[in-house]
Amino acid sequence: MSAFARDLLEFAEFALRTREEGDEVARFISSLLPDPAVAGMCLSELVVNAVEHGNLEIGGELKCELLRAGSYERELAARYSAYPARRVRVSVRRRDRSLEITIADEGNGFPWRRYIDAELVASPRPNGRGIALVRTRFPDLEYLASGRVVIVRAELRS
C-alpha cells in the first residue's frame, strides 16, 4: 500500500475462517507497520490463535499432543468442518499516527494469562510460546472478553 493510501485509512475490517486466510490478513496489515516481517509474524500468531484456540477450540495441551503425533492437520480439517460458520474478525482503526488492531473470535474464551509469561518464549515445547513472542514486539497487548478479543496498538510506518 502506498504511503498516500496509508494516510487515507480510517477503518477496515476483515472476516476470515482459516489460518491461511489469517496469515494473509496479518501480512497485509503488517505492511502498514515498521518492520513488517517480524510484526507480520506476531499479528499472524494472534490471528491464528483466534482461529485455532478460539473458533476451533483446540486447547494448548491437545495441540502439543497432535503436533507430536503428526496428526495436527487432520484434526484442523475436522474442526473446520465442525465449525463452518465461525469467523475471526480483524479490524484496524487509525488513531492519529498509530493503529489499533482488534482480533475477535467466536469461541468460548482463551486462558491467555497462562501464556503471557516471558519465560515461555524459551520453552522447549513445540507450541505455547506465541503470545510471549508477540509481547516482545507489542508489550501492551490487551485481552478482553475472557480472551475472545485481543487488541494490539502499533505505530504506523512513516
Binding site: 496469515d23 517480524v38 492437520e73 510460546r129
Partner: protein
Amino acid sequence: MIEITRQHGVTTVAISGRFDFQCITEFKPVLQTDDHRWIVDLSRASYVDSAALGMLLLLRERAGGDSARVTIRGVCGQPQEVLRIARFDRMFTIEAT
C-alpha cells in the same frame, strides 16, 4: 521447499522460502528420521513463524532433547530476529550467515 541430505553421519535439512505452518506436511519426513546430529540450513529461508519454531523443537526432541546436537546455520534477516527473540540460542547452536 525442504531438502534432506545425509553425509558423514550428519543429516542436513535445507529450507528455502517461507518456513511456516504450511511446511508441516513437508517437514514430517524430517521428524521420522532417526539421527542425533543435525544441521538445519536456513540460509535460503526468508521467513519463520512460531509453527516453524515448533517444528525445530520437535526435531530437537526427536534427536534427543537436551543431548541433541542440532545446529541452525546461515541465519539472517527475519529468521535471525525471530530466533533471537525466541532465545533459541539456549537450545540450539546458531550460526549466522
